[in-house]
Symmetry: C2
Subunit: 93 residues, 2 copies
């Protein structure tokens, strides 16, 4: 059973699925800057375009181009920014 998720007035949208007992989402981040909290640790793989991410407000933004990924600890959060729409795969670890 797939599940559509929409955040920030539809500027971040994804489709959630589960395979082999692991949850993941495939989605798109539109132009803008967004903050997400995490419960489980997550791996965000950029599949089209690029995302900028930082893990604390004080940290420098890091650019993640398509084909790269970053991981976020559980019970934390991250800022993510796109200057053009970017597609991602988010896996819950």
């Amino acid at each position: 059973m797939l599940k559509h998720n929409s955040y920030f007035d539809g500027k971040v949208q994804s489709v959630g699925f589960e395979r082999n007992g692991h949850k993941a989402t495939a989605g798109v981040i539109d132009v803008g800057e967004f903050h997400f909290g995490t419960d489980a640790p997550e791996r965000m793989t950029v599949v089209s375009g690029e995302l900028h991410a930082r893990f604390t407000k004080e940290a420098a933004w890091v650019v993640y181009p398509a084909g790269t990924y970053f991981e976020i600890a559980g019970k934390s959060g991250f800022d993510v920014k796109a200057t053009a729409p970017a597609a991602y795969l988010c896996e819950f670890l």
Copy 2:
């Protein structure tokens, strides 16, 4: 502006976006077999799991694992099948 698409009673869902004048969708195909027609040519890249595809009813199914892609001619169509949910990026060429 992102756009949520849902086909086959929600068994195929995607989020559509546009970047640099090119349209694409990031989505998920649930367990099942589906037929899609194409208007523009498309490139389907599997980003998680695997998809089976064939381009005529007579053709043998080909398995496309994550990290691979197939292209479909415009004004045609293809059958796609998943035995577990699979995420994809569809680029309109």
